[in-house]
């Protein structure tokens, strides 16, 4: 538990550094860098259950991470495809959100 917590603390700190640095950088970077940094951060956030036993692995999120990591670099090769990918990501989350909400009733 001790090693896991210290690894989790380190992971959280590294993520915090990434977010703070991204926030500062996005002030002057091209506007699509903002969404790019957000989904990159999302991909990293999804790893959190590795470090915290109180959190369960989430198959849906694991799948989303895999899709994000595969498609995020569309930003540099095809900005229209990148925007379409972001929209499709939101659609997937919306479907899953609705499914989980209905399950809870």
């Amino acid at each position: 538990m001790g090693k896991e917590k210290s690894n989790g603390d380190k992971y959280l700190f590294d993520l915090a550094v990434f977010l703070a640095t991204s926030a500062s950088g996005c002030v002057e970077e091209p506007h699509l860098y903002g969404p790019f940094r957000l989904i990159d951060a999302l991909s990293r956030l999804i790893e959190l259950p590795k470090y915290a036993t109180c959190m369960k692995d989430d198959l849906f999120l694991a799948k989303m991470k895999s899709v994000i990591d595969e498609k995020k670099f569309l930003l540099v090769s095809d900005t229209e495809a990148f925007k379409a990918f972001l929209d499709s990501l939101v659609r997937e989350f919306a479907k899953e959100l609705k499914r989980r909400s209905l399950e809870r009733r």
């Binding site: 550094v17 990434f18 640095t21 991204s22 500062s24 970077e29 860098y33 940094r37 540099v76 090769s77």
Partner: protein, 178 residues
């Protein structure tokens, strides 16, 4: 290797093997850099070769645009004071940036010709990197070049055709008919 082959086949690599970059290749890359042209021959560049794993790790963490676990990074800085002395405001504000960019392109081509992959990173925090690498005032980090043996072969993004972007004698007069 023919230089045109290096120009066309070089890619921005974001996944690397752990093998270190041999010292002779590091020197070759830096020598290529300093043979770049620069306005007023200012040669505004200064280089910080980052090999220590802990330092690399810190630099990666404050560089949101740094992907992959390359064994080497070279920070290309511009000497603003030198540039101002030799080239005034134009030297300091423009020729430094242009000069470092041209030097970096030489680095990328030299690395590619040596079997290495590279990626230019501009998305780093200047404030943070200056603190971590103890860079004094007057020296400005311009571009970070990640170097290593590539573990991927990315496809190239499409290039705008020459027909769209080239003109003859005046803007708007197409150079290439088709």
């Amino acid at each position: 290797m023919d230089v045109f082959e290096a120009i066309k086949d070089r890619r921005s690599v974001r996944k690397y093997k752990p093998e270190p970059v041999p010292e002779d290749l590091v020197k070759k890359i830096l020598e290529a850099a300093v043979w770049a042209p620069s306005g007023s021959n200012i040669q505004p560049w200064k280089f910080i070769v980052i090999k220590d794993k802990k330092v690399l790790d810190m630099v990666r963490k404050i560089s949101p645009g740094y992907f992959g676990d390359a064994p080497l990074a070279i920070l290309v800085c511009s000497d603003k004071e030198r540039a101002y002395k030799l080239g005034g405001e134009l030297g300091r504000d423009y020729l430094t940036v242009a000069g470092c960019a041209v030097a970096v392109q030489n680095m990328l081509l030299a690395a590619y010709a040596s079997g290495l992959g590279t990626c230019i990173v501009k998305s780093f925090s200047s404030i943070a990197i200056k603190h971590i690498l103890e860079i004094p005032d007057g020296i400005e980090p311009e571009l970070l070049v990640i170097v290593g043996y590539p573990d991927q072969s990315p496809k190239p993004p499409r290039r705008r055709p020459l027909q769209e972007i080239t003109y003859l004698d005046r803007y708007g007069e197409k150079y290439f008919e088709k």
